[in-house]
Amino acid sequence: MLLQGKGAAALAALFISASAFALDRSALEKLASDDNDEKIAAIAALVAEGDPKAADVLKSAAEGEIEVDGKKVEIVVNNRVRARIAEALSVLKLLSPDNAERHAAATALTGGADPAMLPLVLKARDAEQDPAVKKLLELATAAMQLRSEDKETRLAAIRALAGSDNKALLVEAASDADEDIKRAAQSTLREMDDRLVWGEWLGLAFAGVSLGSILLLAALGLAITYGLMGVINMAHGELIMIGAYTTYVVQGWFRGSALFDFYLVAAIPAAFVVSAGVGMLLERSVIRWLYGRPLETLLATWGISLVLIQAVRTIFGAQNVQVENPAFMSGGIQVMANVVLPWNRIFIILFAAGVLVAMWALLSKTRLGLYIRGVTQNRSMAACVGVPTARVDTWAFGLGSGIAGLAGCALSQVGNVGPDLGQGYIVDSFLVVVFGGVGQLAGTVYAALVLGFANKLLESWSGAVLAKIAVLVFIIFFIQRRPQGLFALKGRAVEA
């Protein structure tokens, strides 16, 4: 602590001298010019002096307005200029006395930045006391030196980058005009690939399982309400959202108490009960009258989802709410140099497996499960032997909704909780159920895992959005080729 305090003081002293100067006026004028290259040069000039006031100027410049001689001047900022401004702000943050802030800024800079800002980063590196930040800054300087003019500096930078796992910069250098640099970068890349390849695959597999388990949680409830009961429940996503908000409320009760770390023990059953209750209420009041009319059910449940979204917005406000992880779920296990498995993801995978086992046991080992299976397979015969079919429908729907609530509780640990939370999952979860084969629980599990893997695998090639689009298009074509899904029910029930 003492050492860090000293470091911060040294940094501050370093720049107090600089802040004695007023901001360079010519740089400001250049920033207001029409030419983007001039603007970028001006940004570098502002940063080079390390004046704390520069941060304010740059921030307002990013919003399209700066002050020159007390007059407001509007400037046009495009994406290229904006990226430079963001880098410049990161560089300025390196001077912050706050350790976490410096760490974040250094991390942002490891991707490379305008070489014109190098002197300041070098200064910050030499003054840095925290070993983790210092290491990051060394990588950042190497990343910046890679774009410098001098060949020796560049070769040294490539060697320095060999210790990092940032490939993008070396890939750029590997197609350089200069033969030596090209060769050095290529050999470093190969070394790095060999070292990282296992970790990358492991990370990918973990991300795939993690996404798969989230999809599974979101789709499991739907596998009951849609898969077994045939109800097109467009409000399923909103039942997930209600589970997440229940977790938020329970977490609020525990806030400040010594038991805060264990709030999930109360939140999990609460999320189940609240969502199940809402689901049973919906079944009794609306869905019951629409059995056998799937398109009408679709529209009515969509209406329900709108009402639920607006209700939550009215009660909790339109902004996202903050759900804190218990302390034992933050952080992760470092398995390899480039693989960290976060605890909250591990928790969700285990949780999904637990829910799956519990659901399987409920459906195959209990009397309620027997009734549910009986009613879905042959309603009139079940009624004949004395199963109260209407009540079983309500219970089954409540069970599916409750599982949606559990999904919401889990999702609150990894993502944002807002009124629109459910909307993002509804298309996905329907596709998972349909892909796996309606009425097939095992199919849902396989489908969730396959889609999770496929999504993450594609993501590593093409980026998140394109991967998602590719998966959607794939499922659309798959369903057209094989409308019964991966695992079809055997039998003669062709026309549903």
Binding site: L290, G303, V307, V465, I469
Partner: protein
């Protein structure tokens, strides 16, 4: 009236579509759109109590575009029993095709005074991407408005109907399609302006887009298209083709066993419906002045289904009525009680499906 219910071969074409009452209603609608609105908007001075403001012209013009969409959806859902949740996509595609042309019409008057549309300057692009070539030609935009939704619907429908995807399955995959398209259009690199879409239009065919005369011309063209769509749809549903569609809706297996290839019928009406949506979208964009990917959100497409359900599916007048009622209510609520609109819309969804399966037209007929 008895003379009008004669054998189809002897009835004049006009009376086959509608009786005296129907044609009178269409005539009154035309009179209001082609005479009353232009006169009260352009000739009557704004100080007069009878003046119709630009706000109303835009609002009614917008609702007429929605009514065309409702008619298109009614043709596939109300008559052929195919609930498409992707009609918002076809609507938006038509709108984007028109929007590209409108963006090029801005010329150098954009914020950056460049030949390229503003958002491309923003992304530091130096030249137009390939799919923007020819976008400065109006005829090309018009071709795209029809072709893009039409071809997409044809290809998608061909695969879906060939493998007999129907009912809810069809609804879900059309929804997935529009969701995928929305994600695609949200990307900046797709070249359609990312999440801001297209806006700040200046001219159409050289006329200023904000001038009252241009606005009125667009309004009249929209009304003409709506009436044309209405009559075309009526012609379809009263023809033999329309009868087969209704039969497919009620018992597809039996129609197939009678020797009809139902795929051709479904594919034809689905494609036609998508083209109508594209045209509606193209009329919508210059009047509203903006198009962005949120038009493709699954929620919008489902809302289109509720317009038809409110009016009464399987009745063409109902589709227009439903689009008018729901969007009228939306305009009222979003101004008066913005926070209650979703409650109202949700209640409409639930009540219509539970208590009014035949919609408003069903109530009127009773």
């Amino acid at each position: 009236m008895s003379a009008l219910t004669l054998d189809q071969g002897q009835t004049p074409f006009m009376w086959r579509l509608y009786g005296v009452k129907g044609w009178t209603a269409i005539g009154i609608g035309g009179l209001i759109a082609f005479v009353v609105f232009p006169v009260l908007n352009l000739l009557v001075p704004p100080t007069s109590a009878l003046h119709i403001s630009a706000f109303w012209v835009t609002l009614i013009g917008k609702i007429m575009c929605y009514a065309i969409v409702a008619l298109a959806l009614d043709l596939v859902w109300g008559y052929a029993g195919i609930l498409s949740l992707g009609h918002g996509l076809f609507f938006a595609l038509g709108g984007y095709a028109m929007g590209m042309y409108l963006m090029r019409q801005i010329g150098r008057e954009g914020q950056y005074q460049s030949d390229l549309p503003d958002f491309m300057v923003f992304l530091d692009w130096k030249e137009l991407p390939w799919h923007w070539s020819m976008s400065d030609q109006f005829w090309w935009a018009a071709v795209l408005v029809v072709l893009v939704p039409g071809v997409l619907a044809f290809i998608f429908g061909y695969f879906a109907f060939r493998s007999r995807v129907k009912g809810v399955y069809f609804s879900i995959i059309t929804q997935a399609l529009t969701f995928a398209a929305m994600l695609l259009f949200f990307r900046n690199n797709t070249g359609f302006g990312g999440n801001n879409g297209f806006t700040d239009f200046k001219r159409i065919l050289g006329f200023s887009i904000t001038a009252p005369e241009t606005r009125m011309a667009l309004f009249v063209i929209t009304a003409l298209t709506l009436i044309g769509t209405f009559l075309a749809a009526r012609w379809i549903v009263t023809s033999k083709f329309g009868r087969v569609l209704e039969a497919i809706r009620d018992a597809e297996a039996r129609v197939m066993f009678c020797g009809y290839n139902t795929m051709h019928y479904k594919l034809a009406i689905f494609t036609f419906s998508a083209v109508l949506c594209g045209i509606a979208g193209a009329l919508y964009v210059p009047q509203v002045g903006i198009i962005n990917p949120s038009e493709m959100s699954p929620a919008n497409s489902i809302e289109m289904a509720i317009w038809v359900a409110v009016g009464g599916r399987g009745t063409l007048a109902g589709a227009i009525l439903g689009a008018g009622l729901v969007n009228g209510a939306k305009s009222f609520f979003t101004v008066a009680f913005p926070e209650y609109w979703l409650f109202a819309l949700g209640a409409i969804f639930i009540c219509v499906t539970l208590f009014m399966p035949r919609g408003v037209m069903g109530l009127l007929k009773r």
